[in-house]
Protein backbone atom coordinates (compact mmCIF):
# COMPACT_ATOMS: atom_id res chain seq x y z
CA UNK A 1 0.00 0.00 0.00
CA UNK A 2 1.25 3.41 -0.95
CA UNK A 3 2.13 6.25 1.37
CA UNK A 4 0.19 9.25 0.13
CA UNK A 5 2.33 12.39 0.35
CA UNK A 6 1.13 15.94 -0.26
CA UNK A 7 3.68 18.54 -1.31
CA UNK A 8 2.22 21.85 -0.22
CA UNK A 9 3.21 25.38 0.83
CA UNK A 10 0.40 27.91 0.78
CA UNK A 11 2.48 30.40 -1.14
CA UNK A 12 3.07 30.06 -4.87
CA UNK A 13 6.44 29.87 -6.59
CA UNK A 14 8.37 28.34 -3.71
CA UNK A 15 9.15 25.07 -5.52
CA UNK A 16 6.29 22.62 -4.91
CA UNK A 17 6.21 21.27 -8.45
CA UNK A 18 9.99 21.13 -8.78
CA UNK A 19 10.21 19.32 -5.44
CA UNK A 20 7.41 16.89 -6.33
CA UNK A 21 9.21 15.94 -9.54
CA UNK A 22 12.64 15.72 -7.92
CA UNK A 23 11.49 13.67 -4.93
CA UNK A 24 9.34 11.41 -7.14
CA UNK A 25 12.24 10.75 -9.50
CA UNK A 26 14.66 10.17 -6.62
CA UNK A 27 12.34 7.62 -4.99
CA UNK A 28 11.70 5.89 -8.32
CA UNK A 29 15.44 5.65 -9.04
CA UNK A 30 15.76 3.88 -5.72
CA UNK A 31 13.40 1.23 -7.10
CA UNK A 32 10.15 2.44 -5.55
CA UNK A 33 6.94 2.55 -7.59
CA UNK A 34 5.94 6.21 -7.65
CA UNK A 35 3.10 8.22 -9.13
CA UNK A 36 3.15 12.01 -9.07
CA UNK A 37 -0.30 13.61 -9.26
CA UNK A 38 -0.82 17.20 -10.38
CA UNK A 39 -3.68 18.82 -8.45
CA UNK A 40 -3.12 22.24 -9.98
CA UNK A 41 -6.09 21.98 -12.31
CA UNK A 42 -6.15 24.92 -14.73
CA UNK A 43 -2.51 25.86 -14.13
CA UNK A 44 -0.80 22.55 -14.67
CA UNK A 45 3.00 22.47 -14.74
CA UNK A 46 4.09 19.10 -13.43
CA UNK A 47 3.81 17.60 -16.95
CA UNK A 48 6.29 20.22 -18.21
CA UNK A 49 8.79 19.65 -15.41
CA UNK A 50 8.49 15.88 -15.99
CA UNK A 51 8.91 16.35 -19.75
CA UNK A 52 5.62 14.60 -20.51
CA UNK A 53 3.56 17.50 -21.85
CA UNK A 54 3.34 16.02 -25.34
CA UNK A 55 2.01 12.71 -24.12
CA UNK A 56 -1.00 13.78 -22.05
CA UNK A 57 -4.19 12.24 -23.45
CA UNK A 58 -6.33 11.78 -20.37
CA UNK A 59 -5.87 13.65 -17.10
CA UNK A 60 -6.96 13.70 -13.46
CA UNK A 61 -10.28 15.39 -14.29
CA UNK A 62 -11.20 12.68 -16.82
CA UNK A 63 -10.56 10.02 -14.18
CA UNK A 64 -12.33 11.95 -11.41
CA UNK A 65 -15.37 12.43 -13.62
CA UNK A 66 -15.28 8.83 -14.80
CA UNK A 67 -14.70 9.50 -18.50
CA UNK A 68 -11.36 7.66 -18.51
CA UNK A 69 -9.87 4.77 -16.57
CA UNK A 70 -6.89 5.36 -14.30
CA UNK A 71 -4.73 3.03 -16.41
CA UNK A 72 -5.44 5.18 -19.47
CA UNK A 73 -4.44 8.40 -17.71
CA UNK A 74 -1.20 7.24 -16.05
CA UNK A 75 1.82 8.32 -18.09
CA UNK A 76 4.97 6.26 -17.62
CA UNK A 77 8.23 8.21 -17.45
CA UNK A 78 10.56 7.59 -20.41
CA UNK A 79 13.70 7.30 -18.29
CA UNK A 80 12.58 5.56 -15.10
CA UNK A 81 9.97 2.87 -15.64
CA UNK A 82 8.67 2.84 -12.06
CA UNK A 83 7.77 6.56 -12.26
CA UNK A 84 4.30 7.62 -13.41
CA UNK A 85 2.51 10.93 -13.88
CA UNK A 86 -1.16 11.74 -13.53
CA UNK A 87 -1.46 15.15 -15.17
CA UNK A 88 -3.92 17.92 -14.39
CA UNK A 89 -6.23 19.45 -16.94
CA UNK A 90 -5.28 22.89 -18.26
CA UNK A 91 -8.72 23.74 -19.66
CA UNK A 92 -10.76 23.13 -16.51
CA UNK A 93 -10.64 24.61 -13.02
CA UNK A 94 -10.56 23.33 -9.46
CA UNK A 95 -14.36 23.14 -9.26
CA UNK A 96 -14.19 20.15 -11.61
CA UNK A 97 -12.59 18.12 -8.81
CA UNK A 98 -15.33 16.35 -6.88
CA UNK A 99 -14.71 15.15 -3.31
CA UNK A 100 -15.87 11.61 -4.12
CA UNK A 101 -13.93 11.47 -7.38
CA UNK A 102 -10.63 12.48 -5.74
CA UNK A 103 -11.16 10.00 -2.92
CA UNK A 104 -11.81 7.21 -5.47
CA UNK A 105 -8.67 8.07 -7.49
CA UNK A 106 -6.46 8.02 -4.38
CA UNK A 107 -8.05 4.76 -3.23
CA UNK A 108 -7.40 3.16 -6.64
CA UNK A 109 -3.79 4.39 -6.72
CA UNK A 110 -2.87 3.10 -3.25
CA UNK A 111 -2.56 -0.65 -3.98
CA UNK A 112 -0.47 -0.23 -7.15
CA UNK A 113 2.23 2.10 -5.87
CA UNK A 114 4.67 2.60 -3.00
CA UNK A 115 4.34 6.39 -3.13
CA UNK A 116 1.52 8.66 -4.32
CA UNK A 117 2.90 12.21 -4.36
CA UNK A 118 0.27 14.93 -4.72
CA UNK A 119 1.49 18.27 -6.05
CA UNK A 120 -0.77 20.82 -4.37
CA UNK A 121 -1.72 24.12 -6.00
CA UNK A 122 -0.89 27.32 -4.12
CA UNK A 123 -3.51 28.86 -1.88
CA UNK A 124 -5.81 27.42 0.75
CA UNK A 125 -8.87 26.90 -1.43
CA UNK A 126 -10.53 23.85 -2.89
CA UNK A 127 -7.59 22.56 -4.96
CA UNK A 128 -5.10 22.55 -2.12
CA UNK A 129 -7.59 21.27 0.44
CA UNK A 130 -8.43 18.29 -1.83
CA UNK A 131 -4.74 17.63 -2.50
CA UNK A 132 -4.00 17.36 1.23
CA UNK A 133 -7.23 15.71 2.37
CA UNK A 134 -6.24 12.06 1.85
CA UNK A 135 -2.53 12.40 2.63
CA UNK A 136 -0.68 10.27 5.19
CA UNK A 137 2.29 12.61 5.29
CA UNK A 138 2.94 16.20 4.26
CA UNK A 139 6.03 17.83 2.83
CA UNK A 140 5.75 21.55 3.52
CA UNK A 141 7.89 23.51 1.09
CA UNK A 142 9.11 26.93 2.22
CA UNK A 143 11.63 29.52 1.09
CA UNK A 144 13.72 31.27 3.73
CA UNK A 145 11.62 34.44 3.70
CA UNK A 146 8.91 35.68 6.06
CA UNK A 147 5.89 35.60 3.75
CA UNK A 148 6.58 32.02 2.68
CA UNK A 149 7.15 30.91 6.26
CA UNK A 150 3.94 32.50 7.51
CA UNK A 151 1.92 30.90 4.68
CA UNK A 152 3.50 27.53 5.48
CA UNK A 153 2.50 28.00 9.10
CA UNK A 154 -1.08 28.54 7.95
CA UNK A 155 -0.93 25.36 5.85
CA UNK A 156 0.40 23.37 8.82
CA UNK A 157 -2.63 24.55 10.80
CA UNK A 158 -4.91 23.32 8.01
CA UNK A 159 -3.06 19.98 7.77
CA UNK A 160 -3.75 19.53 11.48
CA UNK A 161 -7.43 20.37 11.23
CA UNK A 162 -8.99 19.75 7.80
CA UNK A 163 -7.42 16.50 6.55
CA UNK A 164 -9.01 13.06 6.87
CA UNK A 165 -6.24 12.01 9.20
CA UNK A 166 -6.82 15.00 11.50
CA UNK A 167 -10.57 14.36 11.47
CA UNK A 168 -9.95 10.78 12.60
CA UNK A 169 -8.02 12.26 15.53
CA UNK A 170 -4.65 11.11 14.23
CA UNK A 171 -1.51 13.18 13.95
CA UNK A 172 -0.47 14.13 10.40
CA UNK A 173 3.27 13.64 9.88
CA UNK A 174 4.72 16.90 8.56
CA UNK A 175 8.20 17.63 7.27
CA UNK A 176 9.78 20.87 6.18
CA UNK A 177 11.63 21.11 2.89
CA UNK A 178 13.50 24.40 2.81
CA UNK A 179 14.18 25.36 -0.81
CA UNK A 180 16.21 28.07 -2.54
CA UNK A 181 18.49 28.32 0.47
CA UNK A 182 21.63 30.39 0.14
CA UNK A 183 23.91 29.85 3.16
CA UNK A 184 26.04 32.89 2.32
CA UNK A 185 23.06 35.26 2.18
CA UNK A 186 21.53 33.69 5.30
CA UNK A 187 24.85 34.29 7.08
CA UNK A 188 24.71 37.95 6.03
CA UNK A 189 21.15 38.21 7.37
CA UNK A 190 19.65 38.80 3.91
CA UNK A 191 17.35 35.81 4.31
CA UNK A 192 16.05 33.81 7.24
CA UNK A 193 18.43 31.16 8.49
CA UNK A 194 17.44 27.53 9.04
CA UNK A 195 17.10 28.01 12.81
CA UNK A 196 14.71 30.99 12.36
CA UNK A 197 12.44 28.98 10.09
CA UNK A 198 12.45 25.91 12.33
CA UNK A 199 11.78 28.06 15.37
CA UNK A 200 8.64 29.45 13.75
CA UNK A 201 7.31 26.27 12.13
CA UNK A 202 8.30 23.68 14.78
CA UNK A 203 8.25 20.68 12.42
CA UNK A 204 11.12 18.30 11.57
CA UNK A 205 13.37 19.17 8.67
CA UNK A 206 13.33 16.85 5.66
CA UNK A 207 16.01 18.68 3.71
CA UNK A 208 17.61 21.94 2.69
CA UNK A 209 17.79 22.51 -1.05
CA UNK A 210 20.41 25.09 -1.98
CA UNK A 211 19.60 27.84 -4.45
CA UNK A 212 20.97 26.53 -7.74
CA UNK A 213 20.82 27.35 -11.41
CA UNK A 214 20.72 23.62 -12.10
CA UNK A 215 17.14 23.47 -10.80
CA UNK A 216 15.83 26.03 -13.28
CA UNK A 217 17.88 24.50 -16.05
CA UNK A 218 16.50 21.01 -15.34
CA UNK A 219 12.92 22.31 -15.18
CA UNK A 220 13.30 23.99 -18.55
CA UNK A 221 14.70 20.77 -19.99
CA UNK A 222 11.63 18.92 -18.75
CA UNK A 223 13.69 16.78 -16.42
CA UNK A 224 13.54 16.51 -12.64
CA UNK A 225 16.86 17.83 -11.32
CA UNK A 226 17.58 14.47 -9.69
CA UNK A 227 17.65 12.90 -13.18
CA UNK A 228 19.14 15.75 -15.19
CA UNK A 229 22.04 16.75 -12.93
CA UNK A 230 22.25 13.92 -10.40
CA UNK A 231 25.60 15.12 -9.04
CA UNK A 232 24.56 18.76 -8.52
CA UNK A 233 24.18 20.06 -4.99
CA UNK A 234 20.40 20.45 -5.38
CA UNK A 235 19.99 16.91 -6.72
CA UNK A 236 22.05 15.46 -3.86
CA UNK A 237 19.93 17.40 -1.38
CA UNK A 238 16.74 16.03 -2.95
CA UNK A 239 18.17 12.50 -2.97
CA UNK A 240 18.97 12.78 0.73
CA UNK A 241 15.46 14.11 1.41
CA UNK A 242 13.96 11.16 -0.49
CA UNK A 243 16.04 8.71 1.56
CA UNK A 244 14.87 10.39 4.76
CA UNK A 245 11.29 9.94 3.53
CA UNK A 246 12.08 6.22 3.23
CA UNK A 247 13.10 6.25 6.86
CA UNK A 248 16.89 6.44 6.59
CA UNK A 249 18.80 8.53 9.11
CA UNK A 250 21.12 10.84 7.19
CA UNK A 251 22.92 13.76 8.84
CA UNK A 252 21.63 17.11 7.62
CA UNK A 253 24.16 19.26 5.84
CA UNK A 254 23.60 21.99 3.31
CA UNK A 255 25.18 20.57 0.17
CA UNK A 256 27.05 23.08 -1.91
CA UNK A 257 28.54 22.89 -5.37
CA UNK A 258 31.94 23.77 -3.96
CA UNK A 259 32.11 20.39 -2.25
CA UNK A 260 31.52 18.77 -5.63
CA UNK A 261 34.49 20.62 -7.10
CA UNK A 262 36.58 19.65 -4.11
CA UNK A 263 35.60 16.00 -4.32
CA UNK A 264 36.29 16.04 -8.08
CA UNK A 265 39.83 17.23 -7.34
CA UNK A 266 40.19 14.53 -4.73
CA UNK A 267 38.80 12.03 -7.22
CA UNK A 268 41.38 13.04 -9.81
CA UNK A 269 44.20 12.75 -7.35
CA UNK A 270 43.06 9.32 -6.39
CA UNK A 271 42.85 8.23 -10.03
Amino acid sequence: MAQVVVVTSGKGGVGKTTSTAALGAALARAGERVVVVDFDVGLRNLDLVMGAERRVVYDLIHVVQGSARLSQALIRDKRIDTLFLLAASQTRDKDSLSDDGVERVIRELRPSFDWVICDSPAGIERGSSLAMRHADLAVVVANPEVSSVRDSDRIIGLLDSTTDKAKRGEQMEKYLLLTRYDPVRAERGEMLCVEDVLEILCIPLLGIIPESKDVLHASNMGLPVTINEPTSAAARAYNDAARRLQGEQIPLVVPSDRTTLFSKLLGRRAA
Partner: protein
Protein backbone atom coordinates in the same frame (compact mmCIF):
# COMPACT_ATOMS: atom_id res chain seq x y z
CA UNK B 1 -49.48 12.14 22.45
CA UNK B 2 -49.36 14.02 19.18
CA UNK B 3 -51.57 17.00 18.54
CA UNK B 4 -50.50 17.22 14.91
CA UNK B 5 -49.20 20.74 15.40
CA UNK B 6 -45.64 21.72 14.62
CA UNK B 7 -43.66 22.31 17.76
CA UNK B 8 -41.38 25.26 18.28
CA UNK B 9 -38.50 25.28 20.65
CA UNK B 10 -37.52 28.42 22.48
CA UNK B 11 -34.92 28.99 25.06
CA UNK B 12 -33.19 31.90 26.68
CA UNK B 13 -29.49 32.21 25.97
CA UNK B 14 -26.77 34.59 26.97
CA UNK B 15 -23.95 35.27 24.57
CA UNK B 16 -20.84 37.34 24.53
CA UNK B 17 -20.68 40.42 22.35
CA UNK B 18 -18.23 43.26 21.95
CA UNK B 19 -19.75 46.38 23.56
CA UNK B 20 -18.70 49.65 21.94
CA UNK B 21 -19.36 52.85 23.84
CA UNK B 22 -19.31 55.98 21.68
CA UNK B 23 -18.30 59.22 23.34
CA UNK B 24 -19.51 62.74 22.82
CA UNK B 25 -18.73 64.40 20.54
CA UNK B 26 -19.78 61.70 18.13
CA UNK B 27 -17.87 63.27 15.21
CA UNK B 28 -14.57 63.22 17.06
CA UNK B 29 -15.26 59.68 18.23
CA UNK B 30 -15.97 58.56 14.66
CA UNK B 31 -12.68 60.10 13.56
CA UNK B 32 -10.88 58.07 16.26
CA UNK B 33 -12.76 54.99 15.10
CA UNK B 34 -11.60 55.59 11.53
CA UNK B 35 -8.02 55.89 12.73
CA UNK B 36 -8.39 52.56 14.53
CA UNK B 37 -9.87 50.93 11.43
CA UNK B 38 -7.04 52.24 9.27
CA UNK B 39 -4.51 50.62 11.60
CA UNK B 40 -6.49 47.39 12.06
CA UNK B 41 -9.00 47.05 9.21
CA UNK B 42 -10.19 43.68 10.50
CA UNK B 43 -10.83 44.85 14.05
CA UNK B 44 -14.61 44.42 13.87
CA UNK B 45 -14.63 41.73 11.17
CA UNK B 46 -17.00 38.85 11.96
CA UNK B 47 -17.72 40.28 15.40
CA UNK B 48 -21.13 40.98 16.90
CA UNK B 49 -21.18 44.47 18.29
CA UNK B 50 -23.48 46.08 20.84
CA UNK B 51 -23.64 49.88 20.99
CA UNK B 52 -23.87 51.35 24.48
CA UNK B 53 -25.22 54.91 24.29
CA UNK B 54 -26.15 55.26 27.94
CA UNK B 55 -25.28 58.66 29.37
CA UNK B 56 -24.92 60.22 25.93
CA UNK B 57 -28.46 61.74 25.72
CA UNK B 58 -28.52 61.62 21.92
CA UNK B 59 -31.39 63.06 19.93
CA UNK B 60 -33.22 60.64 17.69
CA UNK B 61 -31.71 61.99 14.38
CA UNK B 62 -28.17 61.93 15.86
CA UNK B 63 -28.73 58.40 17.09
CA UNK B 64 -30.02 57.17 13.71
CA UNK B 65 -27.15 58.84 11.86
CA UNK B 66 -24.71 57.14 14.27
CA UNK B 67 -26.21 53.78 13.27
CA UNK B 68 -25.76 54.72 9.59
CA UNK B 69 -22.15 55.75 10.15
CA UNK B 70 -21.37 52.45 11.88
CA UNK B 71 -23.03 50.27 9.26
CA UNK B 72 -21.16 52.28 6.58
CA UNK B 73 -17.96 51.00 8.28
CA UNK B 74 -19.24 47.40 8.09
CA UNK B 75 -19.71 47.16 11.84
CA UNK B 76 -22.56 44.74 12.41
CA UNK B 77 -24.76 45.91 15.24
CA UNK B 78 -26.47 43.24 17.24
CA UNK B 79 -28.36 45.62 19.48
CA UNK B 80 -28.27 48.85 21.39
CA UNK B 81 -28.06 49.43 25.10
CA UNK B 82 -29.05 52.53 27.04
CA UNK B 83 -31.09 54.20 24.29
CA UNK B 84 -34.60 55.51 24.56
CA UNK B 85 -36.74 52.68 23.07
CA UNK B 86 -38.71 55.14 20.91
CA UNK B 87 -35.47 56.42 19.33
CA UNK B 88 -34.43 52.97 18.18
CA UNK B 89 -37.21 53.06 15.57
CA UNK B 90 -37.12 49.28 15.14
CA UNK B 91 -33.75 49.59 13.37
CA UNK B 92 -31.85 47.47 15.90
CA UNK B 93 -33.05 45.36 18.82
CA UNK B 94 -33.19 47.17 22.10
CA UNK B 95 -31.23 45.25 24.72
CA UNK B 96 -31.90 45.12 28.43
CA UNK B 97 -29.00 44.07 30.59
CA UNK B 98 -29.89 41.12 32.77
CA UNK B 99 -30.18 42.32 36.37
CA UNK B 100 -30.88 40.46 39.56
CA UNK B 101 -33.93 41.56 41.50
CA UNK B 102 -32.71 44.19 43.96
CA UNK B 103 -34.28 42.52 47.00
CA UNK B 104 -32.33 39.34 46.26
CA UNK B 105 -29.06 41.11 45.53
CA UNK B 106 -27.67 40.98 49.05
CA UNK B 107 -28.39 37.29 49.37
CA UNK B 108 -26.83 36.52 45.98
CA UNK B 109 -23.74 38.47 47.01
CA UNK B 110 -23.43 36.43 50.20
CA UNK B 111 -23.70 33.14 48.36
CA UNK B 112 -21.13 34.24 45.79
CA UNK B 113 -18.58 35.20 48.41
CA UNK B 114 -18.88 31.76 49.98
CA UNK B 115 -18.33 29.86 46.76
CA UNK B 116 -16.41 31.79 44.11
CA UNK B 117 -17.52 31.04 40.56
CA UNK B 118 -15.44 28.22 39.10
CA UNK B 119 -12.85 29.56 36.66
CA UNK B 120 -12.22 27.36 33.68
CA UNK B 121 -8.89 27.71 32.02
CA UNK B 122 -7.89 26.44 28.63
CA UNK B 123 -4.54 24.76 27.99
CA UNK B 124 -3.28 24.46 24.41
CA UNK B 125 -0.32 22.11 24.22
CA UNK B 126 0.76 22.95 20.68
CA UNK B 127 1.86 25.97 18.68
CA UNK B 128 -0.99 28.17 17.44
CA UNK B 129 -0.59 28.51 13.69
CA UNK B 130 -1.18 31.48 11.43
CA UNK B 131 -4.89 31.78 10.66
CA UNK B 132 -6.01 29.89 13.75
CA UNK B 133 -8.10 31.66 16.37
CA UNK B 134 -8.51 30.50 19.96
CA UNK B 135 -11.54 32.11 21.62
CA UNK B 136 -12.15 31.33 25.28
CA UNK B 137 -14.98 33.34 26.85
CA UNK B 138 -14.69 31.66 30.26
CA UNK B 139 -11.23 32.19 31.71
CA UNK B 140 -7.49 32.10 31.12
CA UNK B 141 -5.70 30.65 28.13
CA UNK B 142 -2.29 29.04 28.41
CA UNK B 143 -0.35 28.17 25.28
CA UNK B 144 2.61 25.82 25.58
CA UNK B 145 4.25 26.80 22.31
CA UNK B 146 4.38 29.84 20.07
CA UNK B 147 1.58 31.99 18.71
CA UNK B 148 2.36 32.61 15.05
CA UNK B 149 2.04 35.84 13.12
CA UNK B 150 -1.55 35.89 11.87
CA UNK B 151 -2.94 33.84 14.76
CA UNK B 152 -5.32 35.28 17.37
CA UNK B 153 -6.05 34.44 21.02
CA UNK B 154 -9.12 35.97 22.68
CA UNK B 155 -9.72 35.23 26.37
CA UNK B 156 -11.98 36.47 29.10
CA UNK B 157 -9.10 36.18 31.54
CA UNK B 158 -5.33 36.31 31.27
CA UNK B 159 -3.22 34.87 28.47
CA UNK B 160 0.03 33.00 29.08
CA UNK B 161 2.29 32.09 26.18
CA UNK B 162 5.23 29.79 26.90
CA UNK B 163 6.87 30.52 23.58
CA UNK B 164 7.23 33.37 21.15
CA UNK B 165 4.18 35.61 20.82
CA UNK B 166 4.00 36.83 17.23
CA UNK B 167 0.25 37.06 16.65
CA UNK B 168 -2.60 39.04 18.22
CA UNK B 169 -3.74 38.45 21.79
CA UNK B 170 -6.76 40.02 23.47
CA UNK B 171 -6.99 39.34 27.20
CA UNK B 172 -9.92 40.39 29.36
CA UNK B 173 -11.80 40.69 26.11
CA UNK B 174 -15.24 40.46 27.72
CA UNK B 175 -14.56 43.16 30.26
CA UNK B 176 -11.89 42.26 32.80
CA UNK B 177 -9.44 44.99 33.70
CA UNK B 178 -7.44 42.65 35.92
CA UNK B 179 -6.51 40.30 33.08
CA UNK B 180 -2.83 40.13 32.19
CA UNK B 181 -0.68 38.90 29.34
CA UNK B 182 2.54 36.95 29.84
CA UNK B 183 4.85 35.66 27.18
CA UNK B 184 8.34 34.25 26.82
CA UNK B 185 9.20 36.44 23.85
CA UNK B 186 7.22 39.49 22.75
CA UNK B 187 6.96 39.90 19.00
CA UNK B 188 3.20 40.45 18.87
CA UNK B 189 1.23 42.20 16.15
CA UNK B 190 -1.23 43.48 18.75
CA UNK B 191 -1.83 42.99 22.45
CA UNK B 192 -4.98 44.18 24.20
CA UNK B 193 -6.45 44.06 27.70
CA UNK B 194 -10.09 44.96 28.18
CA UNK B 195 -10.13 46.87 24.89
CA UNK B 196 -6.96 48.89 25.56
CA UNK B 197 -4.55 47.84 22.92
CA UNK B 198 -1.08 48.46 21.60
CA UNK B 199 0.23 47.51 18.15
CA UNK B 200 3.71 46.24 17.32
CA UNK B 201 4.90 49.64 16.13
CA UNK B 202 4.05 51.21 19.48
CA UNK B 203 5.94 48.66 21.56
CA UNK B 204 9.13 50.11 23.03
CA UNK B 205 12.06 48.64 21.07
CA UNK B 206 13.86 47.45 24.22
CA UNK B 207 10.86 45.25 25.10
CA UNK B 208 10.79 43.45 21.76
CA UNK B 209 11.85 39.81 21.76
CA UNK B 210 12.06 39.78 25.57
CA UNK B 211 9.90 37.92 28.09
CA UNK B 212 7.23 40.35 29.28
CA UNK B 213 4.20 40.89 31.39
CA UNK B 214 1.44 43.33 30.39
CA UNK B 215 -1.35 44.76 32.56
CA UNK B 216 -3.68 47.74 32.76
CA UNK B 217 -2.94 50.72 34.95
CA UNK B 218 -5.78 53.19 34.62
CA UNK B 219 -6.31 53.39 30.89
CA UNK B 220 -2.72 52.68 30.11
CA UNK B 221 -1.39 49.33 28.95
CA UNK B 222 1.87 48.75 30.81
CA UNK B 223 4.53 46.31 29.65
CA UNK B 224 7.64 45.32 31.54
CA UNK B 225 10.31 42.82 30.73
CA UNK B 226 10.64 39.92 33.15
CA UNK B 227 14.34 39.30 32.61
Amino acid sequence: MSTGRPSFKFRGGSFHALVVKPESSIDAWLADLDALLTRSPGFFARKSVVIDVSGLSLTKPTFLSLLDELSRRDIRILGVEGANPSDVDGRVPFLVRGQADKSDAAEVQAIQSDAPAPVSSLLIDAPVRSGQAIVHPDGDVTIVGSVASGAEIVAAGSIHVYGALRGRVLAGAYGNRRARIFCRRLDAELIAIDGHYIVADDVEPHLRKTPVQAWLEGDELKIITMN
